[in-house]
């Protein structure tokens, strides 16, 4: 029983990490209509940037900010230089998926000669254990949970109360109509890539901090968990991604306690398959992954 209470604690950390990453991924998809398979690799790139800063003696929290900035700029440039021109050219959704997969393979392999094959880990004292009932978490884990909660509230405030947020939702719902109403959709989309890129970069550093060590191959594993959370909640739905992250985080950690931690991604995949069979539109969406009528 204690094992499961402890797993619940890890689940809280896990869902925080997944939530930051999945909200960024799902907003990218929901607003720009682009399934960016290079997302996991951008995360890993930011994690490595924070690693080198960390090794130079800079604290991991400053590294997190740097990772977020790097992720924002990287994603923005990726869209401006590559994705946006392809979309303007009229490349289909499927074509874009292939382009982003090619980009993902290129980033991973450009990293290999720079960072090497060996797994890395941050030099960071996780702080003392803080006990809440049966759950024991380190100071760093509590900070990660706090960061995730603040970010989720910030995303909610952005989407619900600001002009930019409303413009984003309008662009997501109908880009042509939004443009005709005078919304500068191009600038909105630039802002979306910056914001989601920052979430992506920050999530990379947090995910690397949360695991004992990380290597380039982790990019694909990150991507699977994120996809599972985003699709479970309803692709393109930020609140759905939050809900999906909570469920995936809990279920994967509980299954790791009950079964084997090697199969965390397999469990996430199992959930993904179940969602695709039973409710392809996800928990919180009408359309989601469902094919067009007919």
């Amino acid at each position: 029983m204690d094992l499961f209470v402890a797993a619940l604690g890890f689940g809280l950390v896990s869902m925080s990490v997944i939530a930051i990453a999945a909200v960024g991924f799902t907003m990218q998809f929901g607003i720009t209509n682009m399934i960016n398979l290079a997302y996991g690799e951008v995360m890993i790139s930011s994690a490595y940037l924070a690693y080198y800063l960390n090794r130079a003696g800079i604290s991991i929290w400053a590294g997190m900010v740097a990772g977020a900035l790097f992720g924002a700029v990287f994603s923005f440039l990726l869209n401006r230089i590559l994705y946006a021109p392809f979309l303007r050219k009229g490349t289909s959704h499927l074509g874009m998926v292939i382009v982003s997969l090619a980009v993902s393979a290129m980033i991973a392999n450009l990293l290999i000669p720079i960072v090497g094959y060996y797994p890395r880990s941050y030099q960071e004292d996780p702080g003392g254990l803080i006990r809440l009932g049966g759950i024991a978490l380190t100071r760093d884990q509590l900070i990660v949970i706090g960061v995730a909660i603040v970010l989720m509230l910030a995303i909610h405030a952005l989407l619900a109360y600001t002009r930019l947020g409303k413009a984003m939702r309008a662009t997501a719902a109908n880009p042509t109509l939004a443009r005709n109403c005078g919304i500068p959709t191009q600038r909105v989309i630039d802002a979306v890539w910056l914001i989601t890129g920052a979430l992506c970069g920050l999530a990379g550093v947090v995910a690397a901090l949360n695991s004992d060590s990380f290597a380039i191959a982790n990019g694909a594993a990150f991507l699977i968990t994120i996809l599972a959370a985003a699709v479970l909640g309803g692709a393109g739905q930020p609140y759905g991604a939050m809900l999906g992250a909570v469920l995936i985080g809990l279920i994967t950690e509980l299954s790791a306690a009950a079964w084997s931690p090697q199969y965390k991604e397999v469990v996430a995949f199992g959930i993904l398959v179940l969602v695709m069979i039973l409710r392809p539109q996800g928990l919180l969406a009408k359309r989601g992954a469902l094919a067009a009528a007919g």
Partner: protein
């Protein structure tokens, strides 16, 4: 250029051509973005391996796998093809029925990553991360595999399989059925409106492609005699996609050209580069293979941008009875 090198080159070319023809049928002709193509090849290879190998207690029991039936050629190859087809049924059932096409692609990509993780971690099932070794080459009980004539024989059998595959896919592509597939690829809603069932068409092609992929895996494992998760990581599928995009989506000749240019061509260029010590030791370790992947990514992006139809574009098919359109 000795016989072994030539045989190696030809067999690999044959396997890549078979795989590219199958992927072209799925991706090029029917528009199914099968990002888990390599899994079907892997299943064929594993099936052919365990069908042709003795039980795992042989050779001192140093490896663990299920089965081990010591069957003679051609049963393991047929088994490999059947295994590829059988795997396509549940996968297609989950992925191809309800999902939007870009979700189909990512679901298949995720499947490819997960299948590899599961096989790597399940070390009693198919050898785990270490994989399976000492797979007996076909007909090795009659002909010594370490002779030149055996190498020629293997090239010959591979060539027969290439011709059979090419015949099969050509028949499908040029038939009225192929026309339905292209109609579905171009506009699924319109194809549905004229009475085509896209789910049925996709399922059929998914299974046919799975069978051919399984066969290509069986040929490969018979030749290299080992099989492990590290040879069927998901990026291997990207190479085949690059081949189809470079060759020309939807064109069988294009798929053959793509197979010769991308997987075979890159393999040879890397071998050539690695033979030159000045280049092989350049930069940090792993630089050349990493740059090879970067080049494949650039190739995909470059072709999609500058020449989306590939070097040998699909022929434009015109119905001769149709009234001429005024431009």
């Amino acid at each position: 250029m000795n016989t072994y090198y030539a045989a190696n080159l030809l067999v690999y070319a044959g396997i890549d051509i078979i795989a590219c023809l199958a992927l072209n049928l799925q991706f090029g002709v029917s528009g199914i973005v099968n990002f888990s193509f390599i899994v079907f090849q892997a299943v064929g290879a594993y099936a052919a391996a365990v069908l042709s190998m003795p039980p795992d207690t042989a050779n001192g029991g140093f490896q663990h796998y299920i089965g081990g039936y010591s069957l003679t050629f051609p049963i393991p190859w047929i088994g490999g093809a059947v295994a590829g087809g059988l795997l396509a049924i549940p996968v297609g059932f989950v992925v191809l029925r309800k999902l939007r096409s870009d979700y189909q692609a990512i679901a298949l990509l995720v499947l490819s990553v997960i299948a590899n993780t599961v096989i790597t971690n399940a070390d009693k099932f198919l050898g785990g991360a270490a994989g399976i070794a000492l797979v007996p080459p076909p007909l090795s009980e009659r002909i010594d595999p370490n002779t030149e004539s055996y190498q020629y024989l293997y090239v010959g059998i591979t060539a027969v399989c290439v011709v059979l595959t090419l015949f099969l896919v050509n028949r499908i592509v040029n038939s009225p059925y192929g026309r339905s597939l292209r109609a579905m690829r171009e506009r699924e809603l319109a194809a549905t409106a004229i009475g085509k069932n896209p789910v049925e068409l996709k399922m059929t092609i998914f299974i046919v492609g799975g069978v051919i992929a399984g066969l290509s895996g069986a040929i490969l494992v018979g030749f290299i005699q080992v099989w492990a998760p590290s040879v069927w990581l998901y990026p291997e599928t990207i190479v085949l996609f690059a081949a189809i995009i470079v060759g020309g989506r939807g064109s069988n000749i294009g798929a053959i050209l793509g197979a010769l240019l991308v997987p075979v061509g890159f393999e040879e260029v890397t071998r050539f580069l690695n033979n030159d010590p000045a280049i092989a030791n350049l930069g940090p370790p792993g630089l050349i293979p990493a740059l090879q992947w970067v080049a494949i990514g650039l190739l995909i992006i470059g072709f999609l941008w500058f020449r989306p139809d590939g070097v040998h574009p699909e022929a434009r098919r015109v119905f001769e009875g149709a009234p001429a359109l005024e431009d």
